[in-house]
């Protein structure tokens, strides 16, 4: 039996971020994680620190995303100090390409709405006509009718991020237990015991950061974390000398040189297979945007499952029945990693989710209809 300060269930980017955040605050952390066969969004991730397309209609979410994007450079530097790993973070912005008049109209509406809702936070963006897009993005295709640029956005290697979170947590005295699928949690207020992977740990705090696995575990802790999988399929090309520092939302060039191309949005249950139809559409859009990509070979295709709540926004909760038990679930584990490490972990240490994050409680899904 390992007595520790906090148990984290889930060792992906979200669980790993919380674990690192708790460890850097001085807590002794034990992470229980599944094995290589886990459904793991962190290993399928596109790697965007995405702001431009986040939060139209939900200013709280836009503000939260912006806060994390603003913290990302400091977070990446601290993570590298602890782990020795450069996650390749760069904040060169996002140049979104519109491929039709309909897309242009929707993009303008989205950006105007975010700005209108942002209040004093503000929201700076540039709408670019065809010629301005051609100046900004060398090699842009004739089918691109317009674009939009925001400077808030960035990207990184999600695989290096995952690895560095683990290494940093271990370096701070944390323990990581793999092949440890958790299906039962013994819970009492401020007292939790997990037995999995041949290890038993007990702690006054427990955090669910297990992606889609949270839904099944939450009721044992008096929490409600309704999530559904949404499949996204991606492609990556052979490595090419650097062409593009910013990302384009659905195209980014990695630090190593490959172009990642995304992505589909499908309801496919827990099937992480790929399909030629969805991948053809991904490739076609990429080539319509940057025709030179057609001369590059695709070296890999894969799919991942996004972690979607009923309204697609994150869930942060502490159990009213079992104080000390928290749930953290979101689709945007990379974008929000900085906020999870530097803010959410701090709130978990303090034992209280503050009022400005109360809007992300899953209680929002249980509003009674008026008679």
């Amino acid at each position: 039996m390992v007595a520790c300060d906090a148990i984290v269930v889930g060792g992906g980017i979200v669980g790993g971020s919380i674990a690192f955040g708790l460890a850097r605050a001085g807590l002794k952390v034990v992470v229980f994680d599944e094995g290589d066969d886990a459904v793991r969004a962190s290993r399928a991730n596109f790697g965007l620190v995405a702001v431009q397309m986040k939060g139209a209609g939900n200013p709280d979410y836009h503000r939260w995303t912006r806060q994390s994007a603003d913290l990302w450079a400091d977070f990446a530097a601290e993570l590298e100090e602890h782990s020795g790993i450069d996650v390749g973070f760069g904040r060169q912005g996002c140049a979104w390409a519109c491929l039709s008049e309909d897309e242009r109209i929707l993009k303008v509406q989205q950006l105007e709405q975010i700005r209108a809702e942002a209040g004093t936070l503000g929201f700076d963006y540039q709408l670019l006509d065809k010629a301005e897009m051609a100046d900004l993005v060398p090699g842009i295709g004739p089918k691109v009718v317009s674009g939009a640029y925001t400077a808030y956005d960035g990207h990184c290697s999600p695989l290096y991020l995952l690895r560095s979170l683990h290494r940093a947590t271990l370096g701070l005295g944390g323990r990581y237990i793999s092949n440890a699928s958790v299906d039962r949690i013994e819970a009492a207020p401020n007292s939790f015991t997990v037995n999995a992977g041949g290890e038993t740990a007990t702690a006054p705090k427990l955090v669910l950061g297990a992606g889609l696995g949270n839904t099944a575990l939450a009721p044992q802790l008096g929490l409600d974390v309704p999530l559904r999988p949404q499949r996204g399929q991606l492609l990556v090309t052979e490595r090419v000398r650097p062409k593009m520092a910013f990302h384009m939302g659905r195209i980014r060039q990695t630090a190593e040189g490959g172009f990642m191309l995304g992505t589909s949005n499908e309801d496919a249950g827990f099937d992480v297979g790929t399909s030629t139809g969805a991948l053809s559409a991904v490739a076609q859009r990429a080539v319509d945007t940057l025709p030179y990509l057609a001369r590059l070979r695709i070296v890999r295709a894969w799919a991942g499952l996004r972690i979607m709540s009923p309204d697609d926004y994150p869930i942060y909760d502490q159990s009213p029945r079992y104080p000390g038990a928290f749930a953290v679930a979101c689709h945007s584990g990379v974008t929000l990693a900085a906020a999870h490490v530097l803010n959410v972990a701090r709130h978990i240490v303090a034992g209280r989710i503050p009022a400005d994050l109360a809007c992300f409680s899953s209680r929002r899904f249980n509003v009674q209809a008026a008679a």
Binding site: R239, K243, R295, L296
Partner: protein
């Protein structure tokens, strides 16, 4: 470095490896031709510039990438030699013309 199996009846083709004309059996892969006429790394890696050569010889490891007849990043172990073929080292990441 490698000894070739004796085959007196092998039909030979001439390929050009980094400006050097060499004769190799016509049923060789490019990777085999390069190993039989080894003069150094067949590529350097895109990220660290580490020297590499053909390894798995069956299309899995991607360590034998070379520029073949002007096309970069070809898997040399999966492509048969042909008369007059130009074979060049793949130095780091390829470029792409816009």
């Amino acid at each position: 470095m490698f000894k070739q199996l004796p085959d007196d009846n092998a039909e030979l083709v001439t390929v050009i490896i980094e400006e050097q004309s060499v004769k190799v059996p016509s049923d060789y892969s490019v990777a085999a031709a390069v190993l039989a006429n080894w003069t150094g790394p067949s590529r350097t890696t895109p990220v660290s510039g580490a020297p590499r050569g053909p390894y798995c010889m069956m299309g899995a490891c991607f360590d034998c990438l070379m520029e073949i007849d002007g096309v970069p990043n070809q898997q040399a172990c999966m492509i048969p030699v042909a008369e007059g073929m130009s074979i060049r080292r793949q130095d780091g990441a390829r470029g792409v013309e816009i």
